[in-house]
């Protein structure tokens, strides 16, 4: 299935959970936050939340700033 991950179209296994998806793309799970179709998904739900075809995911982290 195809999802949009941080603006890029990506192929990923159907029914994958968020935590596995984050691991697949090497995101640091400790310092990231995930938005699934414009909803912030709490960390505790990452292992149960599955991703569907055409979902839009935004993964954010902290960068240098003032």
């Amino acid at each position: 299935m195809k999802i949009t991950l941080n603006g890029e179209l990506k192929e990923c296994p159907a029914g994958i959970t968020l935590d596995k998806l984050l691991a697949l793309y090497n995101f640091d799970k400790h310092r990231t936050a995930v938005e699934l179709n414009s909803r912030v998904v709490p960390r505790r739900e990452h292992s149960s939340q599955t991703v569907k075809d055409a979902d839009i995911l935004e993964v954010v982290t902290f960068v240098g700033g003032g």
Partner: protein, 253 residues
């Protein structure tokens, strides 16, 4: 001994907050942060890069520093609230430096959207440190809306013009019931000292250190300037006089 700086439930000894953007290298940033003596460092929230191996936190010891995420780059209350939610989720803290800008050229805050976002984030339980202009009326409204700390700009972000309107800052300080931290516009050490001498509870700066020719040395200068200005404020300066007053005894030659 000075009392600690209290921001809601948080307490700090250092009154200098430092940003983590725009340093020549991560190594220099780490050294500059250490030299500044800062206990609070600001960070921004952005899209994570796929398969990124390096993290900002490889260079910032989160046991040593309190992380203050900002909503920089947001131009509406809704955008800023979204970023605040993401920051809370990524960092697991309720601290947010709220910044809602009105214009890309001036980077001046949008007072209406800033106030709206403050009200909502306060209701949601955030500890809101809010960036604003040096307008005393807006500063008061933000305080009334429940901001934990109000942070007026000395001058526009990254401009290095220092404290442009000392009188406005004095009016803000006179009636403030929450800590006032001067945020933005600091160019050099004396700007920090002036802010602190006037009675600000702290100063937040980034570019003044990060873009100095020697950021680590400038960080030290800012630290000393902050301490110096604070001591002068606590000491109570002499009043300004129009005419001279001799320092040496004038009799008994």
């Amino acid at each position: 001994m000075d009392k600690k700086l209290k921001i809601g439930k948080y307490e700090f000894t250092s009154r200098l907050f430092v940003g983590t953007g725009k340093y020549p290298s991560m190594q220099i940033m780490t050294e500059a942060l250490a030299a500044s003596g800062a206990e609070v460092v600001t960070v921004a929230v952005r899209r994570a890069k796929i398969s990124e191996t390096e993290s900002l936190f490889d260079y910032i010891d989160t046991k040593k520093y309190t992380i203050l995420p900002n909503t920089a780059g947001c131009f509406s209350a809704d955008d800023a609230i979204r970023v605040a939610h993401l920051a809370r989720e990524a960092g697991s803290s309720d601290l947010i430096k709220l910044e809602v800008l009105g214009d890309e050229k001036t980077l001046l805050p949008d007072p209406v959207e800033t106030l709206k976002a403050t009200e909502i984030l306060v209701k949601e339980g955030f500890t809101v440190l809010v960036y604003t202009s040096d307008d005393p009326i807006i500063a008061k409204k933000l305080e009334d809306a429940g901001a934990t700390c109000v942070m007026p700009a000395g001058s526009p972000i990254g401009s290095g013009q220092g404290i442009l309107n000392k009188n406005n800052l004095r009016i803000i300080l006179e009636s403030a019931k929450v800590p006032i931290i001067v945020d933005a516009g600091v160019g050099t050490a004396s700007d920090v000292t002036i802010a602190m001498e006037l009675g600000s509870e702290g100063v937040l700066l980034n570019t003044g250190i990060a873009h100095a020719k020697d950021p680590v040395r400038m960080a030290k200068a800012m630290k000393l300037a902050c301490e110096s200005g604070r001591l002068a404020f606590l000491s109570g300066r002499i009043p300004k006089r129009l005419y001279a007053k001799a320092s040496s005894p004038e009799k008994d030659f």
